[in-house]
């Protein structure tokens, strides 16, 4: 195995210095963190200035109570109201279209963030229009909605002769505080988002890691083929050792990357006191991660060895990306039902095992039986994959020209 280590060392050191590796090393966590944290930061960031909302109040009955409701609920840090209502009066003609045009212009000119249209029959149909350049701003719309609901409810109650404060008390909203229970009976507060993010980040990292290093591997094999270094390699070392060295080097590369990211994660979690997956879960994830990684490394070797042009390489890595993307697309479904039969079945497909478990473990620890059986499955699949890759590698690494078809490869694997 000395030669396998020599190959592994070379693959590791040469790839770790490559630009594409360094880019993925630093860029991936940035993208992850960016995609995960920035929107939630934007959402929860308090406003520093009052936001002006226009209102066209046909009956004239709602502007004052709505302003009061908004002011009592939402205040800026300095005690000023977060939202200021600004009445947009009808002109002399009482023309609804005219006032709307004027209001639209105010929005476009950024004099107001947006404006509400409260018609006279609002109590009947409870429909309020909100027109804004940024209609997707959930923070504002949900707050306006809540305040409007209060106001309308109050009006309706008084009309029916009921004391509004009683209604308020009866219809008090329930705040669902989600508490995640772990095996040790420890309580852990965690919202859906948090769980989603930790699972999702983990899986995305795995995806990026396998993709970048897999592509590096395919590319380097292609280079060795095109410059015929492979002949010298094959004359210097048994094909199996050569392949083992490549997989080993690549795995070491993956571990370096994940170790680096974990370090960033730990630092980040200490600094921002974000709850992380408990350590036991993390260790288990690492096991799945390594096994899944080796499995895919073997697949990439098998897929890359028969290729002889860059174009073919792109095609083949394209197929592999599709396989790798499947679990990501399934994530939301799995998160909602981590223990469903489908989730369990999917966990037993070697291509998906590692990522499925990466999603499931942080949410709800699968049963010990399931963990052991999937690990065994993944170990066996990895061995089989390496064996198959070895056969394909030995015979196709020296062949040039047309890429063999799946059928030809299958015959090759079956042959002695």
């Amino acid at each position: 195995m000395k030669k396998a280590f020599a190959v592994a060392k070379w693959e590791y050191i040469e790839k770790i210095k490559s630009k594409s590796f360094l880019i993925s090393l630093f860029l991936t966590p940035l993208i992850m963190v960016g995609a995960g944290i920035i929107p939630s930061l934007m959402m929860s960031r308090p406003d520093t200035e009052s936001i002006v909302i226009g209102i066209i109040d046909e009956s004239g009955n709602y502007e004052a109570p709505l302003a009061k409701a908004l002011e009592s609920r939402y205040k800026l840090a300095n005690g000023q109201p977060n939202y200021l209502l600004r009445q947009i009066p009808f002109g002399y003609t009482n023309d609804f279209e005219e006032v709307k045009q004027r209001a639209d212009k105010m929005v476009i000119d950024e004099m107001i963030e947006g404006y509400l249209i409260l018609k006279t029959n609002i109590l009947a149909d409870s429909i309020v229009d909100y027109r804004s350049k940024n209609a997707g701003n959930i923070k504002i719309t949900s707050r306006l909605e809540r305040a409007l609901k209060d106001v309308i409810m109050e009006k309706k109650a008084t009309e029916r002769g009921i004391n509004p404060s009683i209604v308020k008390e009866i219809t008090a909203t329930v705040d669902l505080k989600t508490i995640k229970l772990t095996k040790g009976g420890k309580e852990e507060e965690g919202g859906f988002e948090k769980i989603f993010m930790s699972s999702y980040i983990f899986m995305m990292m795995m995806f990026f890691l396998i993709m970048t290093s897999g592509q590096l591997l395919v590319r380097s094999m292609l280079e060795e083929k095109s410059n015929r270094v492979v002949e010298v390699l094959m004359s210097s070392s048994p094909a199996n050792h050569l392949m083992a060295g490549k997989i080993l080097g690549l795995s070491a590369l993956g571990l370096t990357q994940i170790g680096f990211w974990a370090l960033i994660g730990i630092i980040a979690s200490l600094k921002f006191s974000v709850t992380m997956i408990p350590l036991a879960g993390a260790a288990l994830l690492l096991v799945y991660f390594i096994l899944g990684y080796i499995f895919y490394a073997a697949i990439f070797v098998a897929a890359g060895a028969p290729l002889s042009t860059e174009q073919e390489a792109q095609q083949v890595t394209g197929y592999l990306v599709i396989i790798l993307i499947i679990p990501i697309m399934l994530t939301i479904m799995i998160i909602q039902n981590p223990d469903s039969t489908l989730s369990k079945i999917l966990s037993y497909i070697p291509f998906l095992t590692a990522s499925m478990m990466a999603v499931r473990i942080p949410i709800q620890m699968p049963s010990t039986l399931e963990i052991i059986s999937t690990i065994i499955l993944l170990v066996i699949s990895s061995i089989v994959a390496i064996w198959v890759a070895g056969k394909i590698f030995r015979t196709t690494i020296l062949s040039y020209g047309k890429r063999p078809s799946i059928k030809e490869l299958w015959l090759l694997v079956k042959s002695k």
Binding site: A6, N227, R228, V232, M234
Partner: protein, 306 residues
């Protein structure tokens, strides 16, 4: 050192090597000759255990291939290439490590060879920054850094300038004198003629000619004349005195037809051409090659065969 007995390799559609036997001894340079597609590369790959023969035996000092033997083989493939993005010294050390040479020893040897090839100052440069010829020198170093007992060089001279060709030739002769077995595969008959002790000519997967170079040549008799001249060479191609003719602009290698005496021919053609040099000798390896491979024609082929 190496004995191949009746080695055969078949690919899907062709028999690449059809019962080849050859022997490479220590202290000898064996010329492995043959046209393109003759089965030389396949033979070499089988010797190196890169691919397995379908039948036949390949023995090293009487023993079959083993992993230990691998470290004592050196190989320079015909098609050249190295890791482009890597540094020169690192590349050499990597190949040395694959042959079981540790870094310290590898460095010592690498510096020695780099100095000999006048590349010492470039040791920290990337391969792709070197000229083609220099890349080739580096690749040659990688194939012999582990001081192999059997080294197979496939067209080692192609792409080298005359100065470096001399260095390479000296090294090959040194290896021979150090008791190494050298297999020298080439199309360039003049190179083979100067360097080889023995030759093995393969055509269409079969050995068509083998033996010590001197024996091979003398077996073809001394009915060859080489002339250098000024004048129209086409007179020679139709001249009845010759059974085979290779023409160059002002040089020709001619085989005398049966029982024609050289001095009669000389008298005859000196009236037609301005003869500068006339030599009655054994045939050149090139002529033998052309004869054996069967592409010889009375004219027109000379340029291709040079």
């Amino acid at each position: 050192m190496l004995t191949a007995i009746d080695v055969r390799k078949e690919f899907a559609t062709v028999v690449a090597v059809d019962g080849v036997s050859l022997e490479a001894n220590r202290g000898e340079i064996l010329g492995l000759l043959g046209p393109n597609g003759a089965g030389k590369t396949t033979s070499i790959r089988m010797i190196l255990n890169i691919i397995q023969p379908d039948s036949g035996k390949i023995l090293f000092d009487g023993k079959p291939f083993s992993e230990e033997i691998r470290d004592h083989l050196g190989y320079l493939p015909e098609e050249r290439g190295l890791y482009r993005k890597n540094k020169l010294l690192n590349t050499i050390l990597y190949f040395a490590s694959l042959k079981g040479i540790d870094t310290a020893e590898g460095k010592r040897r690498a510096y020695k060879w780099l100095e000999r090839f006048d590349l010492l100052t470039a040791y920290d440069r990337k391969i792709e920054e070197l000229s083609k010829g220099n890349q080739q020198k580096v690749q040659f170093i990688t194939s012999i850094i582990h001081e192999p007992d059997l080294v197979i060089l496939d067209e080692p001279f192609s792409g080298l300038d005359p100065v470096n060709q001399i260095i390479l030739k000296d090294i090959m002769l040194e290896m021979k004198h150090q008791g190494k077995a050298v297999i020298f595969s080439t199309h360039q008959m003049d190179q083979a003629e100067k360097l080889c002790d023995k030759i093995c000519l393969i055509n269409k997967g079969k050995v068509v000619l083998e033996g010590a170079l001197a024996d091979v040549k003398s077996s073809y008799g001394s009915n060859t004349v080489r002339i250098e001249f000024d004048g129209d060479p086409n007179i020679l191609s139709t001249h009845p005195a010759f059974s085979a003719v290779q023409l160059y602009d002002n040089y020709a290698e001619l085989v005398l037809a049966n029982s024609i005496k050289p001095h009669i021919v000389l008298r005859d053609i000196s009236q037609l051409l301005d003869i500068r040099k006339f030599e009655n000798t054994e045939p050149s390896l090139n002529a033998i090659f052309l004869k054996m491979v069967g592409t010889e024609k009375r004219d027109g082929q000379a340029k291709e065969a040079r």
